[in-house]
Symmetry: C2
Subunit: 418 residues, 2 copies
């Protein structure tokens, strides 16, 4: 589709932007090309879309069902009980709600790990955004379960071609305390052979560190390094417990990380992702919301504000993680991690694009669009979303949204009664 965005603010200048099947072919003060779709950009700013580095999409169904509980009973008495009852259809409906919510917040790319892989993939393809979708891989150190999971992942890898270009298959080894060394080694080899990303919880909790120490006599990072799991395909999420020995290893192998600050605070994991170490080591990282049971909103702008402010607070240094850097990490850096190409609005690039409504109090006086995005705005400022050359939201309207919300709500309420 050929899209012409007229009179939009781009880096402070009024511009026309011409997008041809997702590729930006012209940026000029006045573009006269013919488009199938013309968007009035007046009073709006054009920015690259946001990328959500870690979530469990269908957990939207659990939003507000169980908060403010001790971690163990929250998981055992609430979340796992619901998850054991989840059907393929539930996950499909929850994932559609998540995609809707992310579109409303200017997010067009997300990195997912959950049950019922195909249900999430179907939702992503229908919503026409980009999902890096993994099936939760848990074998609990049981050889038979490991073999089953491997077989299932091979099937899903083949199946994923059906959902291109919306869905990219990834591996989702849950964590080192739920996945055997042998399964991890298999994923290591297959991911290398087929160039598949590996999405894993890493160094999230002190219990995980204790587990690694007891079972392997190493930190989580040392153990995973000992089996050669790290590469530029490895995406470790949370990372709260990382120390400088760990970051040296991760840097050496070019691994990538995702910072999930809101979840870390809400679940009170004890430590916050050490931005300072990342800055020292230069490890690329981006931001994730986590699922809606532990956040409870898939708003990457909100997550960016938390991340930036925590980085300042914990270093006693208000100059840490400034607005522009924070915004770039959620867009350009994240796009690098997910191999999406140059994620800025420039001729010859193909980023997804959001238009942000500047006629809102939080954008007045608009001295600095990046400061306003990170510190003042939230996802509700996003007016229009273009993903892979298609308009998926315009004037905050997403096709079918009322039905998506109604069906997800019904599924969630029926689930808790089942």
């Amino acid at each position: 589709m050929k899209i012409l965005i007229k009179d939009v603010l781009l880096d402070g200048e009024k511009r026309d932007i011409f997008v041809d099947d997702g590729l930006i072919t012209e940026i000029s003060p006045c573009c006269s090309r013919q488009a199938e779709k013309v968007i009035d950009g007046r009073g709006k700013a054009a920015l690259p879309s946001l990328i959500n580095g870690h979530t469990h999409a269908a957990m939207t169904l659990f939003r507000g069902y169980a908060d403010d509980m001790p971690l163990k009973s929250w998981l055992e008495d609430k979340i796992w009980v619901l998850e054991s009852k989840l059907t393929e259809e539930d996950v499909y409906l929850g994932a559609k709600l998540a995609c809707l919510e992310m579109i409303k917040n200017g997010v067009t790319v997300f990195n997912d790990m959950y049950w019922h892989w195909e249900a999430t993939s179907r939702a992503v393809a229908e919503m026409k955004i980009r999902g890096f979708i993994s099936a939760v891989f848990i074998d609990m150190f049981d050889e038979n379960k490991g073999r089953e999971q491997i077989a299932r992942n091979l099937e899903l890898y083949e199946l994923s071609k059906k959902y291109e270009p919306y869905v990219t298959f990834t591996f989702g080894p849950h964590a080192l305390y739920t996945v055997s060394r042998e399964s991890l080694e298999w994923m290591r080899d297959f991911s290398k052979e087929k160039d598949i990303l590996i999405h894993m919880h890493l160094a999230e909790t002190i219990d995980e560190s204790h587990f690694a120490q007891e079972k392997y006599g190493m930190t989580p990072v040392e153990f995973l390094n000992s089996i050669g799991l790290f590469s530029e395909r490895y995406i470790g999420c949370h990372g709260c417990m990382l120390d400088d020995g760990d970051t040296n290893i991760l840097r050496e192998h070019n691994a990538r990380l995702v910072h999930v600050p809101v979840s870390n605070l809400k679940l009170s994991v004890g430590r916050v992702f050490p931005h300072f170490l990342m800055q020292e080591s230069g490890i690329p990282y981006c931001f994730g919301t986590d699922g809606c049971a532990s956040n409870n909103h898939l708003d990457v702008l909100e997550t960016m504000k938390f991340a930036s402010l925590l980085a300042k607070f914990f270093t006693h240094n208000p100059t840490m993680l400034p607005a522009r850097e924070t915004f770039d990490m959620a867009t350009r850096t994240a796009a690098g991690i997910f191999r999406l190409g140059a994620w800025s609005i420039a001729q010859g690039n193909s980023p997804d694009i959001i238009l942000v409504d500047l006629k809102r109090p939080e954008f007045v006086p608009n001295f600095d669009i990046y400061s306003d995005m990170v510190y003042a705005a939230n996802g509700s400022a996003v007016d229009t979303v273009i993903c892979m050359g298609e308009v998926v939201m315009e004037n905050r309207a997403v096709p079918g949204e009322d039905e998506i919300m109604a069906r997800a709500s019904e599924a969630a309420h029926s689930l808790v009664k089942r």
Copy 2:
């Protein structure tokens, strides 16, 4: 004005709410009274409005002008330079923008401390919300300045009657490192005589603690107690450095506090307000956004999420400051601090009322409205705002908003060039 809200969700039940000049006179499944204004409440929830316990309204003009800087040069090279050039008209325009922004976020009451008292008061009265407005009181320990400030405050106290019922005059002694003991003692006596609230920065930074120790040989709280400043009229803001000796004193004298978490993180003051001590001592506190130079958004819902999550994280306890308690503190507790009466939606009460739009992804599946408000929603979910019996926002539209934004923007951009 008589307002009838039809078919709105109240505590999970569909209800009609009749409001007569701000007083709730009927709540029933079907109200047949005649109203001048009927509001369709379908798909919305009715809640008491939010209260912003600490801000500097007109600092909206500085939003995004100077972020990510060391505190000293941020203040000396940026903020104070702009403040020295501020005119009465600038403050009026900035305060109007702040009122607009707060209305958009469901805030109808705010506690302010700033320059050009009357400009802010004029803005509040025009926007028809409730401001507790103080003039910044700074004498820098200079007797003549102290006398001037006292005379000025006496004038403003008289003048404030002109702006009733929108404006309530309060004292705004800036902090103990900028105000002399004699001036504080005068405010103590006059506030007791006339029952005036005292709004003050308290125990915000380590520098303030050092100052108190050097000048008075006491903690800030010990010093202020030694001159008898604390009572139920005293509202101390920030409180990051409070210890249990301090909280015993504050509790004994029934003083009140305001937690300002976003600002404390952004300015990296070193410590976070100790919720745990407040819980132990039972000191009532509510939440404040601070001004837009150090937050940069007057969204109390966002501030509540920060406060609740920080309380959990810093106590390693995810059950701390649960959603309902957090919401109640920003509404009922805050209303108690500002003496506004029973701030819940019940017959015979006169709270300001907000209607929240539930047809948004972040309110699906809506298991718990308080969880959704604190952890999932932000201020943009507020659809309608009723303050003192008048509708000040309906369907997110506020009369005159485009002009308010345009004029504030113009003032801010002209200010930095002056």
